[in-house]
Amino acid sequence: MMLWLRARHAWWMVAALVAMLGFDRLVGGLSLSVPALFGGGANFVFLRTYLPLIWAVAIADSFAGRGFSIEGRPALLPSVAMSRLGLLDAGLFVVASSTAAALFSGFQSGGLSGTAPVLVLSGVTCIGTLRAGPAVGAFASTMLMLLTSVYPRTAPAARFIHILQPDGEPAWSTTCGILVGLAAAGLLATNSARTRLRAAEVSAL
């Protein structure tokens, strides 16, 4: 079990959680200006909105080797069967992401809706990591965060596009977070994802 926790970089996940909460306390209230494209003027978003990316990085790092079947090699994890490994990984993902989401939302006024960004980004990153590698997982969550942030608040369906922002529709965002998280946990539990690598990535391993 200890070997499995080390392979999953459990301490890095704890460190990422502490960093996310710490940054939230220290600089979470720093305001940024995003142009309000419809109607002129500007909207302000707080730096806090972007902090769940720290957790997304931890998820990508933790499950980086998951799709490579590295853990299937006896020399690395001799006593853990693949099916049990999948369940353990899925359990770790669900428990860790839910805990991170609950603790992060505790620092915001939004209540349960504050959990959505952490859940959505965890899920998207994990799926991206399993399918195409950790860098693509982190890239997918970064682009999701960036593009939803700059989508104008007065544009059509903005409440449903802003699933990572505090002004989004809370029920919709939370539902998306739960669904994406469950999909990622399902991929982990069933071992159904295999990463396709580029030559450059193999050399970087």
Partner: protein
């Protein structure tokens, strides 16, 4: 590496069209066309909000693993040349794509120093974003480098306009300018270009050696941090030593000579890009001056688009303004001239502007749309009361002038 292979391998073949579409859509949404290239380009440069972080993240994503790939090779060429041969489609293509998107979104071709300066800043910003993305992927694991590069650029681009710090405002790549009367402050442009140059040249120097692939990662991170500090320091030094006053808008008065022409006995001085509005403005004045004479009010002799001439009524004549907007503009300029308060606000002023707008021939509902129903109905009542004696309207107008709330300059 052949050019085609470089374009395909770098991902530029699909990334650049996507970036062009997003940046031009974003820029076009925000632009209220002035017909003034520097103003329109500055507004469309909001495409940087998307382009700079996207480019940094994508460069970091694509560059991952490149240094370990070439490290074992016996390369005799400069590392910078190797990188350029492999990554020129992103390093040069992304900035060029953004500049094209900005020009297309603005619908303006740069034709003077301020507008070319803004294009240069857009180009340099995305080039620096691409180089920092590359350096981040060189110095850090890709999983950290990708979000870090994107978010640092997003925060830098978005924090500038939100900050109340004068130095940050004048170093930001996004200029909150320009109305027809202003242009980007040259000192801010110099400082921003220097900041971007220091960072991008520094990364270029780091890559220059043929043994650059063997530089340890911690050293690359340290140098990158020092370059950012040095760049900001150089920019701040330029701002501090210039001796020029810094403003939160990072603008200065425009120096382009006005194009003046006299039509229908009215001298109309407009910015060169708006000179085709001269006849329309003179016609409005030609319609309203007889009304002023009938009501015993002062007539308009000259209109100007700049604030320099204290004897002329100030007007707006931007490309995006309709005929009705021009009429309200003439009315507002007249009230400001008569009250001696340029840019005043408040209900008292709105009511006087509404009266003059009605005299120019505007319909009451058009006036209400622009100045509010209360101002329009107040002006209509005043006109109705003056049907018996026209001079009464002039008296009502003059009595209203002292009630206009002047905004102190600055």
């Amino acid at each position: 590496m052949t050019p085609i292979r470089a374009i395909v391998r770098s991902g530029a073949a699909w990334f650049l069209p996507l970036m062009f579409a997003l940046s031009s859509w974003y820029g076009a949404r925000f632009t209220f066309r002035l017909g003034y290239p520097a103003g329109d380009i500055a507004q469309s440069s909001v495409g940087l909000y998307v382009a700079a972080p996207m480019t940094a993240a994508f460069m970091a994503l694509q560059y991952r693993g490149f240094t370990p790939l070439i490290r074992p090779l016996r390369i005799t060429r400069s590392g910078l040349l190797v990188v350029l041969r492999a990554w020129w489609p992103l390093l040069l293509g992304a900035p060029t794509t953004l500049c094209l998107a900005v020009v297309v979104a603005a619908g303006a071709v740069p034709n003077d120093l301020p507008s070319w300066s803004l294009i240069l800043i857009d180009f340099m910003t995305v080039l620096t974003a691409a180089l920092t993305g590359l350096a981040c992927a060189w110095a850090l694991p890709a999983v950290v480098a990708v979000p870090l590069a994107a978010m640092l650029w997003f925060v830098w681009v978005a924090y500038g306009p939100a900050s109340t710090n004068l130095l940050v405002h004048n170093l930001a790549s996004t200029f909150g300018c320009c109305s027809s009367d202003t242009r980007p402050a040259m000192v801010a442009i110099r400082a921003t270009v220097l900041l971007l140059l220091v960072i991008s040249l520094g990364i270029g120097c780091l890559l220059a050696s043929s043994r650059s692939a063997r530089i340890p990662r911690p050293l690359v991170s340290t140098v990158l941090t020092l370059l950012v500090v040095a760049g900001v320091g150089a920019g701040v030094a330029v701002l501090r030593t210039s001796g020029e006053p810094l403003t939160l808008t990072a603008t200065e008065p425009r120096t382009t000579p006005l194009a003046c022409r006299t039509e229908q006995g009215v001298e109309v001085c407009l910015w060169p890009e708006n000179r085709d509005r001269t006849a329309a403005l003179a016609a409005i004045v030609g319609e309203v001056n007889p009304q002023f004479q009938r009501l015993g009010m002062n007539t308009i002799h000259s209109l100007t688009q700049a604030n320099g001439n204290r004897e002329a009524a100030s007007v707006e004549a931007g490309a995006g303004l309709s005929q009705q907007d021009l009429r309200v503009g003439v009315a507002a300029g007249y009230v400001d001239l008569q009250s001696g308060c340029r840019g005043a606000t408040g209900p008292a002023r709105d009511q006087l502007v509404a009266l003059v707008a009605l005299l120019t021939g505007m319909r009451s509902d058009d006036v209400a749309t622009r100045l509010g129903a209360r101002a329009a109905s107040g002006a209509e009542d005043a006109l109705a009361q003056g049907q018996g004696s026209p001079e009464a309207v002039g008296v009502w107008f003059r009595k209203g002038l002292p009630t206009v709330h002047c905004v102190p300059p600055g």
